[in-house]
């Protein structure tokens, strides 16, 4: 069903842009392989904003093509990767980034995996301390106070007169 939904959406997009083609076009590719490789890496982290969750590297939409060309223009003009990203964010907002920036409003997002793992680990460690066979046997509550006292007497080796 996931695929159906995506396909339905993808096909809706195709209706909107009846001119079907596919992602990166032969005429877009830069002559410099190193620069082109950088462009490809960058494209994979940029969102085609009219698509559902597709990178501009994968998308057929004309907007994605415009963005791919824009990225290549900036790279050819000598921008570094950071500058290209900044340029696009300034123009289109953070929505264009498939990998959200680490900032206050994304702190919860990026912290979630680490924090959840830590919480889980701490809970497990606390449970484990109280639940190993030895710990459980000596845990309070397994003996009544009277039994504790009697046990103490036995251990201390001072039998009741």
């Amino acid at each position: 069903m996931k695929t159906i939904k995506r396909l339905v959406l993808a096909s809706l997009l195709l209706i909107a842009w009846a001119d079907i083609s596919f992602a990166v076009q032969p005429d877009e590719i830069l002559p410099d392989p190193a620069l082109e490789a950088r462009a490809r890496v960058l494209s994979r982290e940029l969102r085609c904003m009219v698509c559902q969750n597709q990178s501009i590297d994968d998308s057929d939409a004309p907007l994605a093509r415009d963005l791919r060309i824009l990225v290549r223009e900036r790279l050819t003009a000598g921008d570094n990767d950071r500058q290209v990203i900044d340029f696009l964010v300034a123009r289109y907002g953070e929505f264009v980034l498939l990998k959200p920036r680490l900032a206050w409003h994304t702190a919860v997002l990026w912290a979630a995996p680490v924090v959840l793992l830590l919480i889980g680990t701490v809970v497990l460690l606390r449970l484990a301390r109280g639940r190993t066979p030895v710990a459980a046997a000596t845990a309070a509550g397994s003996l009544t106070p009277a039994e504790e006292a009697r046990l103490k007497e036995v251990i201390d080796g001072s039998p009741r007169p």
């Binding site: 069903m1 695929t3 396909l7 993808a10 096909s11 032969p26 559902q52 980034l97 919860v108």
Partner: protein, 660 residues
């Protein structure tokens, strides 16, 4: 007439569900066997009536009855017969009907197969099932009725979405739904255990086959969907971390965790509360998977408002069942007694570790999928969370699980010996080290992590084999003894080994595809040749063709390696006049586990055409691994203890037998 019959049958099923929702559980409370027994016939009859409704809709589709709105919108008389059947669930209303068909089928199965269940547990489980069914029947009848008629029937239907006109639609949604809905049974069992306040290993033994079944279908369904997207969408991607994909992946992660924790509960009577919680969570995620996707809320908050009635209904069902399930858990969960102590280094400990990472991974996917939505609702800011986020968070979370996986099955219950296990895994370490070295030697360190990932994949596979070798004593005892032991090994041991081996296979496929894929994007004129790796593809020319309900333009390519002609590839572009849509049909050439992938782009005026060509090493292993996992599930499902039910010592049973 047939549509009305289906509609009527669905209303009757709702009536039966209402009866089943109240009377059996009431009977369980007042301990009245005759009230509890009501659940059995209602569950079976519910399935019969839903089957009639489903059959009626199918009949409308097959006979192309365009006076039914649903058929007119999603079918066409010229469509191949197979797609007339599959388009029944290739749309919202029909897929909901498929959902309840599977739900009531499972309910009937529990009613029929559950003879050895305690009567009150069975009655409560079936009542909870009926609650779910009631909600879905109401949802279908009130907001998504597939049987609505059109006053003026059109002469021709609007055709099924061309991308869905594929064999994938016949397999993928039903499998995924069998998985999603299978989680509802474990949910019902969990809710019943909470309502009754009692849970024991026999409960886990009953729940395990359902979880296993659901897990198998989810695994198969997800893999199938992934392969479908791979060959149909035309750019060779097989996983996109799309919200819709995540919606099916989260229940898979949760049920994988549940499968492992239920094992601890069954064998050692520990982790009860946690297992119950996981059962509730797995079904909640299935509901979210079914619904949030349907409501469109994942795309944007705004699409939610397109159909307010449906949206609000969906939200109500989610709140009712997820909130209700978790609320019930919070209220009654503490009543369940914990048992079964174990040391941190033990089989149980390993399974707990598995659960920690799987649930954290699941939560990460959940947060990543819903975060943009929440942020937009809270602050209005729009961000995207896409593949790079999930690769950077979920990936590292799974690494420890994969490395620890071979250790788990080799550890003893209660108190294990890590060093001893490591010694038994020496051969697996060695094999994996050789794999790393060989990969470096042959492929170089171009993606620098890839050889190590190959090592992990090989380690996982070798670990699964080590498990079997250890259990059968192969290489230590005479061969025929080992063979006899292998035959006598519980099927669930084989299942574990297969499933773990399958994970390794899938991982190897993923590493091969992502690490060493080659790509060529070029424009070719007829007669020109393009080369990728050791293959040469000659473009012979374009051939127009006529399909039943589409026109297609096929490009012929001859694939050569050296002087040998390997195959002729015919990728095509199909245009469907009814919907004015075009699809790309990629052509695939399988060589071993690797594939050549060729899809067409735009045609130019001078007769040249743009093509996209990939060589994807080991890509088939991604799905073959899933197949091996499903086989593992099937082996485990056929285990004696699941077929026979809770084992009872024969002698004491005979002694306790009442005189009849």
């Amino acid at each position: 007439m047939i549509a009305e019959l289906g509609h009527y049958a669905l209303v009757l099923a709702l009536g039966l569900a209402l009866v089943q929702a109240v009377i059996p559980i009431w009977g369980a409370r007042v301990r009245d066997p005759s009230l509890m027994a009501v659940a059995m016939p209602t569950a079976v009859a519910q399935f019969v009536f839903v089957a009639i409704a489903f059959g009626a809709l199918t009949a409308c589709y097959v006979s192309s009855d365009f006076s039914v709105l649903n058929v007119a919108e999603n079918s066409h008389s010229a469509m191949p017969t197979l797609y007339k059947y599959t388009s029944v669930w290739g749309n919202h209303e029909g897929s909901m009907l498929l959902w309840v068909l599977i739900l009531t089928f499972y309910g009937a199965l529990v009613a029929i197969l559950g003879r050895n269940l305690p009567a009150s547990l069975k009655a409560t489980v079936l009542s909870v099932q009926a609650w779910i069914a009631t909600a879905f029947f109401l949802f279908i009848l009130l907001t998504s009725n597939p049987f609505l008629r059109l006053a003026d029937a059109p002469m021709e239907g609007r055709d099924l979405n061309p991308i869905l006109q594929d064999i994938g639609l016949a397999v993928h949604p039903p499998m995924l739904y069998l998985g999603y809905v299978g989680c509802s049974i474990t949910f019902s069992f969990a809710a019943a255990a909470l309502i009754e306040g009692r849970i024991d290993p026999a409960w886990a033994r009953w729940v395990r086959p359902w979880t296993l079944g659901a897990w198998m279908f989810l695994t198969g369904g997800i893999a199938m969907g992934s392969y479908w997207a791979y060959y149909e969408l035309g750019w060779g991607g097989w996983w996109f971390w799309d919200p819709v994909e995540n919606a099916s992946f989260m229940p898979w992660l949760a049920s994988t965790a549940l499968l492992h924790s239920a094992l601890v509960m069954e064998k050692r009577d520990a982790l009860k509360v946690w297992t119950i919680l996981l059962a509730v969570v797995a079904f909640s995620l299935s509901l979210i998977g079914t619904f949030l996707v349907r409501s469109g809320v994942l795309t944007s908050v705004h699409t939610f408002a397109n159909d307010p009635m449906r949206g609000v209904f969906i939200l109500a069902i989610l709140v009712l069942f997820i909130g209700g399930g978790l609320g019930l858990f919070a209220w009654r969960g503490a009543m369940l007694k914990q048992g079964g102590l174990f040391a941190p280094i033990s089989r149980e400990g390993a399974l707990v570790l598995n659960n920690l990472f799987l649930t954290t991974g699941c939560a990460t996917v959940f947060v990543g999928t819903l975060y943009p939505l929440l942020l937009e609702a809270a602050t209005g800011g729009k961000i995207s969370v896409g593949a790079p986020f999930f690769n950077n968070t979920f990936g590292p979370l799974m690494a420890p699980v994969l490395i620890a996986m071979p250790f788990g099955p080799l550890l003893a219950w209660k108190r294990g010996d890590l060093l001893g296990v490591a010694q038994r895994l020496v051969a697996a370490f060695a094999v994996s080290a050789i794999a790393v070295a060989a990969t470096f030697a042959f492929e170089g360190a171009k993606p620098v992590l890839a050889p190590f990932a190959v090592g992990v994949a090989v380690f996982v596979m070798a670990g699964a084999v080590t498990d079997l070798v250890e259990r059968t004593g192969l290489f230590r005892v005479p061969f025929d003894t080992a063979l006899r032991r292998a035959a006598g090994l519980p099927r669930s041991n084989w299942g574990t080994a297969f499933a773990h081996f399958g994970i390794g296979v899938t991982l190897l496929g993923i590493v091969g595809e992502t690490g060493w894929s080659a790509e060529k994007i070029v424009t070719l004129k007829p007669g020109e040749v393009v080369s990728i790796r050791q293959y040469d593809l000659a473009f012979e020319g374009l051939v127009p063709r006529e399909g039943p309900n589409y026109r297609e333009l096929t490009a012929r390519f001859t694939v050569r390696r050296g002087n040998d002609v390997l195959a002729v590839l015919e990728p095509s572009k199909r245009s469907f006049p009814v919907r004015e849509m075009t699809t790309t049909e990629a052509a695939l050439l399988t060589r071993g586990f690797s594939q050549l992938y060729l899809s067409l782009g735009d045609q130019n005026a001078d007769g040249s055409i743009a093509i996209r060509l990939y060589h994807k090493p080991l890509v088939l292993l991604i799905w073959l691994g899933a197949l091996v996992m499903v086989m593992g599930g099937a082996l485990s499902l056929s285990d004696r203890r699941l077929r026979v039910g809770a084992p009872k010592p024969a002698r004491s049973a005979a002694v306790l037998q009442p005189a009849e």
